[in-house]
């Protein structure tokens, strides 16, 4: 059975984020309560996801390396975008990621995720620590083919060392069309990478200044607002049964052919769809 490999320290999986850093990422994202640049929204979401992943895998003896994580930016150039001590590295074990954020900011609590549930007695004005590993950038073109190619190189090397792992998950976040050619063949080549447990999973998040309703994990592309969104949808992997089941347990109602694609939505929930043990859902 595919996508059934245990995710453990001996058998980790990996998350690789590809982030569009093109000029147009300066524009505001559609929808939402307050105006926010797309570049800023993405940096926020991915930094938060890295933070939640670290918290999810934290035990009293440290953060367990169930995941290796990388963030590749594509804009004026293509390459890893970690700041600070991790600068220049493609894939980093999660314990090192957790130990080395570039900055640790104090932010007012603004979202009600359970991972930041208030400790007993905490007042409403409490702050939370918000680690960041990279900053928003919006400058240059959209070399998406280059980004997929770079991801393939990085992951080929990783797969040689982890041939039996749960397949790597690549999350591409973009707002526009590739400027260095048709990205579809590069996306396919990336999805061709496999472990004994299945093909690599490519998820795409399309950010737009369009005010259309957010859409998450759709089966069909007919409700998507433009051709580019439809193209990204076609380039997205179908969610494996186990992830879909986990998503449905958490209240989504996904069909069998639901794809790992979202339009102007928060996809940080995918972290919760991966089974690394008993989840604390009840009573938290």
């Amino acid at each position: 059975m595919a996508y059934a490999a245990e995710i453990s320290r001996a058998n980790p999986t990996c998350f690789l984020f590809l982030i569009d850093q093109s000029e147009s990422m300066k524009n505001n994202i559609g929808g939402g309560d307050k105006p926010m640049q797309k570049a800023e929204a993405v940096a926020d979401a991915v930094n938060r996801l890295l933070s939640e992943l670290s918290i999810k895998c934290a035990k009293e003896d440290g953060v367990r390396d169930y995941f290796h994580v990388g963030v590749i930016g594509y804009g004026a150039s293509v390459g890893p975008i970690f700041d600070g001590v991790l600068a220049g590295r493609d894939l980093v074990p999660l314990s090192e990621v957790a130990a080395q954020p570039a900055r640790l900011e104090e932010r007012a609590r603004s979202y009600s995720h359970a991972a930041t549930a208030a400790p007993p007695g905490a007042g409403p004005g409490r702050t939370v620590k918000f680690p960041t590993w990279f900053s928003p950038v919006a400058y240059g073109d959209t070399p998406m083919c280059g980004a997929f190619g770079r991801a393939r190189g990085v992951l080929e090397a990783w797969l040689a060392e982890h041939p039996r792992s749960f397949p790597p998950i690549v999350v591409n976040i973009t707002d526009g069309e590739s400027t260095d050619g048709d990205a579809a063949p590069y996306a396919l080549a990336l999805q061709d990478l496999t472990t004994a447990d299945g093909h690599l999973l490519l998820f795409n998040l399309h950010l737009s200044s369009d005010q259309s309703e957010p859409i998450i994990f759709p089966v069909q592309d007919r409700y998507l607002p433009d051709d580019f969104a439809r193209k990204l949808h076609r380039m997205s992997s179908v969610l494996p049964d186990q992830m879909r089941a986990a998503a449905n347990r958490q209240g989504l109602m996904l069909d069998e052919a639901a794809r790992g694609f979202a339009f102007n939505a928060d996809i940080s929930a995918i972290v919760q769809f991966l089974d690394v043990g008993t989840q604390v859902l009840e009573l938290r």
Binding site: S8, K56, V63, A117, V280
Partner: protein, 258 residues
């Protein structure tokens, strides 16, 4: 009543003994006799911090407070947790290992564990009542003359998931815990065997019973003095994917009347 108690446990493959997050009580095996006996197993949730410590506190509190009802037991454990946490934090400070940013939310959220507790009382020299309390997917099975008589709180292998009901450490959740708790009772007779088991092995047990096998016979052959036999069997079952790779814990109680 007299009871012969055996226990077997093992951390998940790839983990060290100190990473074992199940718990069971009593720790002492062998023959015991009393008018009232309690047993428990618990399983600390892998997504919370210090959950093994919480699982251990729950089983100890349930078994040692023999006359207390489950509500009092959990309330006592929750109070005890505040003291254990204070000691833990003090220890971290003393050893100059400050709490890291990624630990803060987990520590604020508290620990979580499943629990199943069994309480046996005597009515006659060869029989009595049992009551059981459970939160989550740690189970108790009652076997009589080679038949599975009771399976509590889960009754089929298909009911296991990665998000069982859990007992949290935070005292303000006590009311919700009690509303969610499962309770059952029944009668025991001399010769009955009870198994208390955490989820991986409980799921294996029920799957076997559903297929017409006698998992109680398999678990009946191990004894606490030869843990290597149990470890070898668990390794084999994990290799065959019959048993999910998780911490495993079984407490076997054979009641024999006076």
């Amino acid at each position: 009543m007299r009871a012969v108690v055996e226990s077997f446990w093992l951390p998940r493959a790839g983990s060290h003994v100190e990473e074992y997050e199940d718990a069971f009580y009593p720790r002492r095996t062998g023959t015991r006799s009393a008018k009232r006996m309690r047993f428990a197993v618990a399983d600390g949730a892998s997504e919370s911090l210090l959950s093994g410590m919480w699982a251990d506190l729950l089983v100890r509190t349930w078994c040692r407070a023999k006359r207390r009802r489950v509500g009092e037991v959990i309330a006592t454990a929750m109070s005890g947790w505040q003291i254990e946490m204070a000691a833990y934090l003090e220890g971290r400070e003393r050893h100059e290992r400050p709490i890291q940013w990624f630990e803060e939310p987990g520590l604020a959220q508290g620990a979580h564990a499943t629990l199943v507790g069994l309480d046996l009382t005597t009515a006659s020299p060869t029989s009595g009542r049992w009551t059981a309390v459970a939160m989550g997917d740690s189970c108790v099975f009652q076997v009589r003359e080679g038949e599975l008589l009771t399976s509590f709180p889960l009754e089929s292998a298909a009911q296991f998931s990665t998000s069982p009901k859990l007992v949290p450490t935070r005292p303000h959740l006590l009311g919700r815990v009690l509303a969610n708790l499962d309770q059952a009772e029944g009668e025991w007779r001399a010769g009955d065997v009870f198994f208390l088991a955490t989820d991986a092995i409980a799921a294996w047990f029920l799957a076997g019973a559903e297929e017409g096998a006698a998992p109680w016979s398999t678990l009946g052959q191990f004894d606490s003095d030869r843990p290597e036999l149990f470890a070898a069997w668990v390794g084999e079952q994990r290799g065959l994917r019959q048993l999910r790779n998780d911490d495993v814990t079984v407490v076997r109680v054979e009641v024999s009347g006076r």
